[in-house]
């Protein structure tokens, strides 16, 4: 049986202006899942429910085999959580926070903490209010990593960071994944980050998971196909074609289930395939959102 670091079934949470609906999410142990969605899609709410910070109205959440929120304290001993809206105490130093977190966790590793301090170019005596956004994120990540948690939950950790700081964060995440027993769930607007590091990807839109697969099959199944259609021939969306852009001579079909059968089917409709392009995760995400919105309309 597959060992799951996170297992969510049918999570619902109602707010006056937003509903999280029927969220199913499974993160296998030892893997990284990228959680992608526009602002207000429900990424942070889902992650907060997984952390036990807010309680779901219905549905079950198991994190590291602990039911949440009932046994969140046991689960949190092995979770490192960093979120974009998380702030440390501005008037205190990084060292103050290190000492505090160390006093809570027996697993705190002084050597690793010092190593991270130097790698992140942080100074123990530095006050938090004097840190840049990037340094603040790195300080939060240090506090999470220095106790070697089995699960990292990172809500938009790279948002607003310069490329250098972003790479540093990504590099630390890769190091975590070198250990097969450790897992990561992270959300990001930056699909390039997600593509680089995730074994699995979940798209969330308007409080619903609209797609969730392993990264390879995501990237393999989506294609942009440039076609030429003889006069009088028309294609329609459906049967694997999620979007069609037609101009006078050229038609561009976007598919989420690319296969030889699809190409054969297109040819049977009289289409002449001119070019087949792989799509980036960002293009896939945008196409998925568009098709979902058209379906909803």
């Amino acid at each position: 049986m597959l060992d799951l670091a996170i297992e969510c079934h049918g999570i619902n949470k109602h707010y006056p202006h937003f509903d999280l609906e029927d969220i199913d999410l499974q993160v296998p142990a030892g893997s990284a899942m990228g959680f992608v969605g526009p602002n207000g899609a429900g990424k942070s709410t889902t992650m907060r429910i997984i952390m036990g910070l807010i309680r779901q109205d219905s549905g079950s959440v198991n994190v590291l085999h602990y039911p949440i929120p009932e046994q969140q304290i046991a689960a949190k001993r092995d979770i490192g959580f960093v979120s974009e809206d998380m702030r440390l105490y501005g008037s205190r130093t990084i060292g103050f926070h290190m000492d505090f977190v160390k006093s809570i966790y027996e697993s705190w590793d002084d050597r690793l903490a010092d190593d991270l301090l130097s790698r992140f170019d942080l100074v123990r005596e530095q006050k938090v209010k004097g840190l840049s956004h990037g340094q603040r994120v790195k300080a939060c990540l240090l506090l999470a990593l220095a106790r070697s948690p089995r699960l990292l939950i990172l809500d938009e950790p790279t948002t607003g960071l310069d490329p250098v700081a972003r790479q540093e964060i990504m590099s630390e995440m890769r190091k975590v994944l070198q250990d097969d027993s450790r897992s990561i769930l992270f959300s990001s607007h930056n699909t390039l980050d997600v593509e680089q590091i995730s074994d699995h990807i979940a798209f969330i839109l308007d409080g619903r998971i609209i797609d969730c697969r392993d990264t390879e099959s995501f990237l393999d199944s989506w294609r942009r196909i440039r076609l030429e259609l003889p006069d009088g021939h028309h294609l329609a969306t459906g049967d694997g074609v999620v979007d069609l852009q037609c101009s006078e001579r050229r038609t561009v079909a976007t598919t989420d289930s690319f296969s030889d059968q699809l190409l054969t089917s297109l040819k049977q409709h009289g289409a002449c395939v001119k070019d087949i392009e792989r799509m980036t995760l960002e293009e896939i995400f945008l196409a998925r959102v568009k098709s979902q919105q058209e379906l909803a309309a």
């Binding site: 907060r48 952390m51 910070l53 309680r55 001993r77 809206d85 702030r87 809570i104 939060c140």
Partner: protein
């Protein structure tokens, strides 16, 4: 309840507020010193500084450790750690009551010795003065409870203003009660049923408020 975590939470908050609290304590002590040195000449000034130091020693830690923790978005950090809402709430109550309680107690004892001592106000003022001191503590506990329950600035500020005005009205009303008024200027402290009853009732209110707030707070299900 994990006592080690509770201790760490209390120490964390104490480290954050210790400097201002010590300054307020010094201000309160200075007020008492002024009363000793200058006697009646600066009696009103020392009393005003004393009350101000007491109030601010209560208000500042409440805003710093409870209200600011939410408004400054420190809560996601704290609540992402293996800390129960019960430990979190107990820590807030303990650190705030301990900080204010120690300032209140030390300054109250000192003021009682000075203001109602040999050369101070008549001894008959003692019960009324004790009612004022306990009323300050009740006002503080109401503020603490409102801050714990709402964790927001607006209601906490409104509560502090209402308590300030309410406490003054209460003290005036108490001073106007015949059993209090009739003994206030006397040479001997008379603890009649009214003065004792008021103090006992105030202590009961303190206990009730804290118990109810902890009960309500530990039933919260959303922490951020």
């Amino acid at each position: 309840m994990n006592e080690s975590i509770l201790k760490q939470l209390v120490l964390k908050d104490w480290r954050i507020i210790q400097v201002p609290v010590l300054l307020y304590w010094v201000a309160g002590a200075a007020a008492i010193l002024v009363a000793i040195v200058f006697g009646e000449a600066l009696g009103v000034l020392s009393f005003v500084i004393f009350v101000f130091a007491l109030i601010i020693a209560g208000v500042h830690p409440i805003f710093q450790t409870i209200v600011a923790e939410r408004s400054d978005q420190n809560l996601p950090f704290i609540m992402s750690l293996p800390i129960t809402i019960r430990e979190f709430t107990y820590a807030k109550v303990i650190v705030n009551l301990a900080v204010f309680g120690s300032v209140w107690l030390s300054l109250s004892i000192a003021s009682l010795i000075i203001f109602v001592g040999e050369d101070g106000m008549p001894r008959g003022t003692l019960p009324f003065f004790c009612i004022i001191l306990v009323t300050i503590f009740v006002g503080y506990v109401i503020m603490l409870c409102v801050a714990l329950i709402t964790e927001t600035q607006g209601p906490s500020i409104v509560a502090s203003v209402v308590i300030n005005l309410g406490a003054q009205l209460f003290v005036w009303a108490v001073a106007d009660l015949y059993p209090i008024r009739s003994v206030i200027g006397g040479p001997v402290a008379i603890w009649n049923g009214t003065s004792v009853g008021i103090i006992v009732a105030e202590i009961a209110v303190i206990g009730l408020l804290i118990t109810a707030t902890v009960w309500a707070q530990t039933r919260k299900i959303d922490f951020v």
